[in-house]
Symmetry: C2
Subunit: 110 residues, 2 copies
């Protein structure tokens, strides 16, 4: 089901889902003119295969633990870890625990 | 002291500062071509007076409690609360507890 996006000035929640995480799926928080924000839900063992975005992006781990692959490097993202990606930076994610991530994408090409 | 900004792909922390919050000040996390991200520290009773940004912005409460003023509305932001702001949206903040906020600004005019 498509959920309405948050409007400017409207408070949305990006709290950890906790006990609801196991039943959750990826959901849009907002899509505006410049920024798109979503909560990506990745169950243990699931991956987001290598991809890139035309503009800059940031990834914030809200809960769980996720391997962040970029080129030859692998870094572990845990709650409160935050990564910035330059435009067109290939990266992949793999959850090693049930996880949710806050993804912010600049919709303009970099 | 100016801290170096995070580079693309480098993991930074946006965890709550907890016991360190009382000694902390606002700090840059990154400034890139499209996005600027900072942790804003607001002690109890301190305000960020009304301002606006040329592009879109998002505000995420990391810890504490902050009144978010926009026009005639006042909303309370607590940990995990998230607000999107359209370009040139006047808003102000007032901390009612020692607080830190993650502020993401799109540097391009909207």
């Amino acid at each position: 089901m498509a959920l309405p996006h948050a409007q400017s000035g409207e408070v949305a929640s990006v709290r950890p889902l906790g006990a609801q995480l196991a039943q959750a799926t990826t959901s849009a928080i907002l899509k505006a003119g410049q920024l798109e924000v979503m909560r990506v839900v990745l169950p243990t063992g699931k991956s987001m295969r290598e991809h890139q975005t035309p503009g800059e992006a940031t990834v914030q781990c809200l809960e769980g633990a996720v391997e962040f692959h970029a080129g030859d490097s692998v870094q572990l993202l845990q709650p409160g870890d935050f990564v910035h990606l330059a435009p067109r930076s290939p990266h992949a994610l793999k959850a090693i625990k049930d996880s949710s991530l806050l993804l912010t994408i600049c919709l303009l090409p970099g």
